[in-house]
């Protein structure tokens, strides 16, 4: 028994299989607990949809160039919270008056709730994220460029 277990453990080709088994066990156990999981997502950055707004689905109220109410975890740590959200570049403001169907485009352009979260309140996440990209591409391009010298 132990010898067989040792045999499985010592073969690194089986690594992902061992891991898969562990995950499956936990998830099967987890399905039973689903009924006890209550959905509680209205505490942070809840969203309200205004279908008639040109900024739909990202209109979070407030007037452009002014402050907007944003529900963050620690508002006291981000003194300018809400400014990014309400900010629209002249270009996106013009776009908003023109048509009702490019809300996503407008908000993805600098200034919008996602920018507020990504750059301001959870900026450290984005730092890590871009660093991951940086390192991973470093690895890939190192291997790629090295192919010629062998």
């Amino acid at each position: 028994m132990i010898r067989r277990l040792s045999h499985i453990l010592s073969d690194f080709d089986k690594l992902s299989q061992i891991y898969a088994v562990l995950v499956i066990i936990v998830i099967i156990g987890g399905i039973l607990t689903i009924p006890s999981l209550e959905y509680q997502a209205d505490r942070l950055y809840p969203k309200t949809i205004h279908p008639e707004s040109p900024l739909d689905p990202y209109d979070r109220g407030g007037t452009p160039f002014e402050k907007t109410e944003v529900l963050a975890e620690y508002p006291e740590n981000s003194p300018y919270l809400g400014y990014v959200t309400a900010y629209l570049t002249p270009f996106s403001l013009a776009l908003a008056t023109l048509t009702h169907h490019v809300g996503t485009t407008i908000v993805a352009h600098p200034g919008g709730i996602i920018d507020e979260i990504l750059y301001n309140t959870r900026g450290l996440d984005t730092v890590v994220e871009t660093s991951i990209l940086f390192v991973a591409f470093g690895v890939a391009s190192f291997l790629f460029l090295r192919r010629d010298e062998e």
Binding site: V26, V128, R146
Partner: protein
């Protein structure tokens, strides 16, 4: 806000840094881990790698292997990135941020050995990389479930109230194990055969510190 340090788990709090919603904190425990991460990162930065004595299979000959300078530079770069990720992971006060750091440690761990030219080592690194990738499911899934069921990701808010579902905690632990811990150590053991001791050591330092940190998080929240 002080509940984190009042549970008799990690000792007194020292100070914290406020990055918006993400508030990294230094307690006696995390500060110790931080110190070790710094020490090993410095070792990886400043010490030259060993010259490995290599046995040629099928013969009696052995010689001291040299690492090519460009491979060395690359390994050092990734090792420092790995150290930085470890530093972040041991002090961050936010669960999703922690999972991101964990994922970064996973990818840098693969990167450190990627420059090895041995097929065996590369194969181990690849198998380990597959696990690191699929580990993203429990890792991010656990963090997402914590957010969905409690409405927050901050360890400060979660500390001591026991609101985080046990399933999410186990998933988080499983995710960190996939990014590089014990039962999957066999992948690491084969990786260890690659050259460049100070850098290879970073692989172990990062995964052990990550594991220590996730134990703390699971006990605290």
């Amino acid at each position: 806000m002080i509940r984190v340090f009042d549970q008799g788990i990690e000792g007194a709090g020292l100070f914290m840094i406020e990055f918006g919603d993400i508030v990294p904190y230094f307690s006696v425990y995390t500060a110790t881990l931080f110190t070790f991460a710094i020490i090993f990162t410095l070792l990886a930065t400043f010490s030259i790698p060993e010259k490995q004595m290599d046995i040629i299979f099928g013969g009696d000959a052995y010689y001291a292997k040299e690492i090519k300078p460009q491979d060395l530079r690359f390994q050092r770069f990734v090792a420092i990135a790995c150290g930085t990720a470890t530093l972040g992971a041991v002090v961050t006060g936010d669960i999703f941020n922690f999972t991101l750091f964990a994922a970064m440690i996973g990818i840098t761990n693969i990167g450190i050995v990627a420059s090895s030219r041995s097929h065996h080592v590369l194969n181990a690194a690849y198998q380990y990389g597959i696990v690191a990738m699929i580990a993203c499911v429990p890792l991010f899934g656990g963090a997402a479930m914590i957010l969905a069921t409690t409405g927050t990701l901050s360890i400060w808010s979660l500390a001591g109230i026991g609101a985080a579902p046990i399933l999410a905690k186990i998933l988080l632990l499983l995710g960190v194990m996939g990014e590089g811990m014990a039962p999957f150590y066999i992948g690491k053991a084969e990786i260890t055969r690659a050259q460049g001791a100070p850098f290879i050591l970073m692989v172990h330092v990062s995964s052990l510190l990550l594991f220590l940190r996730v134990v703390e998080i699971i006990l605290v929240i």
